[in-house]
């Protein structure tokens, strides 16, 4: 048998310490809160899974969760195709390529709360370019009064803010495809669409997976922009999960339910990412089932 050097554990120790202080201990605090009813620092009652049950039955939370899921799906449905289309139409080389890259990246450099502020002004019907233009065209546009308008404005804002990320990732993926593929496709007589369908899209699979996961996670945790733009309203039309959570934890100081809900929130993201990742890994790499001929 090989001799085992137990001192090797010391090498792992720094990482364990870092992770403990940055992730495990805070998470355990949350777990601690989620199973107790803390009335005052001296008086606390162990309540078991009581908070979890209460939170799961909460109508407001269910509403926020549904809104959140539909929002994230809408974000993916718009930003991914739009990002691919943008990347395909960006110039491949020369000074135009550099210029376009900088232009496209600008919105990524703006802080979240500034994005919210920009759109808050942009959408105002008295002084905002978008709002005033829509009003002039005869639309009764109001992101503060109309729930649908508010929801759409938040979506468009997110598309404006984050589609460039998808575009940049796809652009990098496209540039990594060797010329020989395009040459072979031209020799094989492939149409433009066939080149996209059989060369570009399959070669983008890796970066698209990253793009989908990033955009899904980020949009699922969206907080600052709608908070600045609409404050979650009108009503709670744009109250997404993280805002609901903040209201509970910081606004009402309901630490128990907030902690229970944090854990559920965390598990939902983990689960959905796991499903997405596995699905994308599998699509396009699976062998087709054996068919009759051949």
């Amino acid at each position: 048998m090989k001799p085992v050097n137990q001192k090797a554990w010391l090498l792992v120790l720094p990482v364990v310490l870092c992770v403990a202080f940055s992730a495990i201990l805070p998470l355990m605090t949350v777990v601690n809160y989620s199973v107790q009813d803390i009335i005052s620092p001296e008086r606390r009652v162990f309540v078991g899974t009581e908070w979890f049950k209460a939170v799961m039955r909460d109508d407001d939370l269910q509403g926020a969760l549904l809104r959140q899921i539909s929002f994230s799906l809408a974000v993916l449905a718009v930003e991914i195709p739009l990002g691919i289309a943008l990347a395909l139409s960006m110039p491949a080389k020369g000074w135009q390529a550099s210029a376009v890259l900088v232009l496209v990246a600008i919105s990524l450099l703006i802080p979240w709360n500034v994005v919210g502020t920009i759109w808050q002004i942009y959408g105002r019907t008295d002084i905002g370019l978008l709002g005033a233009a829509l009003a002039r065209l005869g639309f009764d546009y109001s992101y503060t009064g109309n729930a649908t308008h508010a929801w759409l404005t938040v979506l468009v804002m997110d598309v404006w803010h984050w589609t460039p990320l998808v575009a940049l990732l796809c652009y990098a993926g496209l540039r990594a495809i060797p010329d020989a593929y395009y040459q072979a496709a031209s020799i094989d007589g492939a149409s433009k669409f066939a080149v996209f369908r059989y060369i570009q899209l399959p070669k983008l699979r890796g970066v698209l997976m990253i793009a989908v996961l990033l955009r899904f996670m980020d949009s699922f945790m969206i907080y600052t922009e709608p908070f600045v733009l609409t404050g979650g309203g009108p009503g709670n039309a744009t109250t997404f999960l993280s805002q609901y959570l903040t209201q509970k934890a910081v606004g009402q100081f309901d630490l128990g339910p907030a902690a229970a809900f944090s854990l559920i929130y965390f598990l939902i993201i983990l689960l959905l990412c796991f499903i997405l990742y596995n699905w994308m890994q599998r699509v396009g790499t699976q062998d087709k089932p054996e068919s009759g001929h051949g």
């Binding site: 060797p178 020989a180 593929y181 040459q183 072979a184 031209s186 020799i187 094989d188 007589g189 492939a190 149409s191 066939a194 059989y198 060369i199 399959p202 070669k203 396009g284 790499t285 699976q286 062998d287 087709k288 054996e290 068919s291 001929h293 051949g294």
Partner: protein, 368 residues
């Protein structure tokens, strides 16, 4: 199928002035229908450019390309009906092997039953029949390269199949198999094949005619034995063979050829008017000679290596004025006394296989 004629030059830069600005210097060349050709030369000699001009991926900056007498200079590879296999295998990842092979036909709107028949035939020829339903992305490099080739062969009316160093990523023991497969396909289908490589063994075993290229120029077109026995250009002598040809400075004095201060042969009519020339002799044809023998020069052996089936002996000639002369390499059969390093020896350098050059070009009728 087509006879391909080229009369062109190509520069990637606009407004080329000097020779160095050209990727391909003006050249005139024809590839016969059904021939197997190789373009051989070191990296950057213009062979891939020439291939891409034939296929239509690159448009020559001057001149034209004719297929069976028809000017196709402005046509795309698809219009020319060319097939090309690249250095790295190009396959469509999401498709099965069968779908990959069918792709060029599907794009051209061929009916499904004809496609199936054709794919079956090509797969059989390339020994891919057992893998038709497998996803092409999961196969080994040699199978992928066969698929690339198959996509070219699947079109019955293809004008020519072009190969751009197709065996670069293939394991050595499979290279040999694939090369044999190519020869067999050439034999069976009588297609025009043009094969780019920097490996002389690959070129000489594959092709009937080898085009040797250097610095944008096609310096000789010929069979393996032409290139070996009668290199028209010193580059060919140097590039083909292992080691390459020996080149020795020579002068013509009183109607005789003088090397390293010794008169080795009588100069032919073509040489009499010249004074400085170059004598070229392959190491295979250099012999050990007796001291003072005609056509031999004295040298000091600097190295003698046993290469297994032969000895490689290197000697340095002495010039008449006592200065150090050129090196001569000889491939000697092991059944004779091999001189050791430091020995004095005489090398026979003149024989029926000795060539003479001026300005890097071979001179015909050099010996009386």
């Amino acid at each position: 199928m087509a006879r391909i004629e080229l009369d062109l030059a190509h520069a990637y830069k606009p407004n080329p002035r000097r020779d160095e600005d050209y990727a391909l210097l003006p050249l005139k060349m024809a590839f016969d229908d059904g021939g197997a050709y190789a373009l051989l030369g070191p990296s950057g000699c213009g062979k891939t450019t020439l291939l891409n001009i034939v296929s239509g991926l690159v448009r020559p900056s001057q001149g034209r390309v004719l297929f069976d007498g028809v000017d196709v200079t402005g046509q795309t590879p698809q219009q020319r009906n060319i097939a090309q296999v690249f250095q790295f295998p190009v396959i469509y990842d999401t498709m099965t092997v069968a779908e990959n092979l069918a792709f060029p036909l599907r794009n051209r709107g061929v009916p499904a039953d004809r496609i199936a028949a054709r794919v079956g035939r090509v797969a059989e020829m390339l020994e891919l029949s057992g893998q038709l339903e497998r996803r092409a992305a999961g196969l080994a490099a040699d199978a992928k390269q066969k698929i690339s080739l198959g996509r070219g062969l699947v079109r019955e009316d293809v004008s020519a199949v072009l190969f751009d160093e197709p065996l670069t990523v293939i394991d050595p023991h499979l290279k040999w198999q694939l090369r044999r497969k190519l020869k067999q396909i050439h034999h069976d289908l009588k297609l025009t094949l043009i094969y780019v490589t920097h490996d002389q063994v690959e070129a000489l075993t594959f092709a009937e005619q080898v085009v040797v290229m250097t610095r944008g120029r096609a310096v000789q077109i010929g069979s393996a034995s032409d290139l070996f026995e009668r290199p028209q250009h010193t580059f060919v002598g140097h590039f083909i063979g292992s080691p390459g040809m020996n080149f020795l400075r020579a002068t013509v004095v009183d109607g005789e050829i003088e090397v390293a201060g010794r008169r080795v042969a009588a100069a032919g009519a073509a040489l009499v008017a010249l004074d400085a020339i170059t004598l070229g002799v392959r190491p295979e044809y250099v012999t050990l000679a007796d001291a003072g023998a005609p056509g031999a020069v004295p040298a000091v052996v600097t190295q003698a290596q046993d290469i297994g089936t032969y000895w490689l002996v290197t000697g340095r000639l002495g010039e008449a004025n006592g200065a150090e002369g050129a090196l001569v390499r000889a491939r000697l059969a092991p059944n004779q006394a091999i001189p050791k390093a430091g020995d004095a020896a005489w090398f026979g350098i003149v024989g029926p296989h000795t060539c003479y050059y001026r300005d890097e070009q071979r001179i015909e009728g050099a010996v009386a």
